[in-house]
Symmetry: C2
Subunit: 143 residues, 2 copies
């Protein structure tokens, strides 16, 4: 009895619609992925290589991209790497970043998100995800 019934059902639905197969690897990767809020392919690869040393990195990438198409994950390019966000973890958060010391504070602001929706609607867009980063100096670095 898996903990992720809903997500697994979603995945199976997507697989069925596209003549894709439900494999041991996809199940393994799904379980590991859903425990995270966001993760890179590389990190997931290392986590899983303990359980199954033969699982290839290419399979991780292929499967994470599959999750994106199935609506379970969302890719976000952050620096040089791609973060795969777990969509079922609804608390999306934004970042305050100190350019001096690198400190990162996460925050969430409903008012900002509402205004974002307004802007999108006004331009005919439907937002699937977003990124907001505020760069500046934290209290300790202001001198």
């Amino acid at each position: 009895m898996s903990k992720h019934q809903k997500e697994m059902a979603l995945l199976k639905e997507h697989l069925g619609k596209h003549q894709l197969k439900y494999t041991r690897q996809r199940e393994l990767i799904l379980d590991a992925f859903l425990k995270q809020e966001h993760i890179t392919a590389e990190e997931l690869y290392h986590q899983l290589s303990r359980k199954d040393p033969h699982l290839g990195l290419a399979t991780i990438y292929r499967t994470l991209n599959l999750f994106c198409e199935a609506g379970l994950a969302q890719a976000r390019h952050f620096g040089t790497q791609t973060q795969y966000d777990n969509v079922s973890h609804k608390g999306h958060h934004d970042h305050l970043i100190c350019t001096e010391c690198g400190k990162i504070v996460e925050f969430e602001n409903c008012d900002i998100e509402r205004l974002q929706e307004e802007v999108a609607t006004r331009n005919g867009f439907i937002i699937k995800t977003h990124r907001l980063e505020l760069y500046g100096l934290c209290s300790r670095c202001q001198h």
Copy 2:
């Protein structure tokens, strides 16, 4: 007599503070960069290779990164490439990006910016710059 006195002054100030030198290449790249609203290193390379065939791609990358440090440019990762935004282009603008066709709509929203300031203040930060990107589907790609 360059058109970009202000930006050039900013660059020279940064160079002076960091024991860096003002070179012919940096001047060339600055002039070309400031004519754009945003551009990739590759694109800039091709534009400039007509004027100066010996200008190397590595120099473009180095210089664009320098501009980021000097506060003239801002890097934005889109897909596999990096867009360098011209900060001096009137009023900072944010982006609505279609994940399907790549269409980019620029917008500005004072209310969002005000809320950002509030969040920063609440966390003891002083914002120097920010980045807001909304990803989704444009009106034409919603089917």
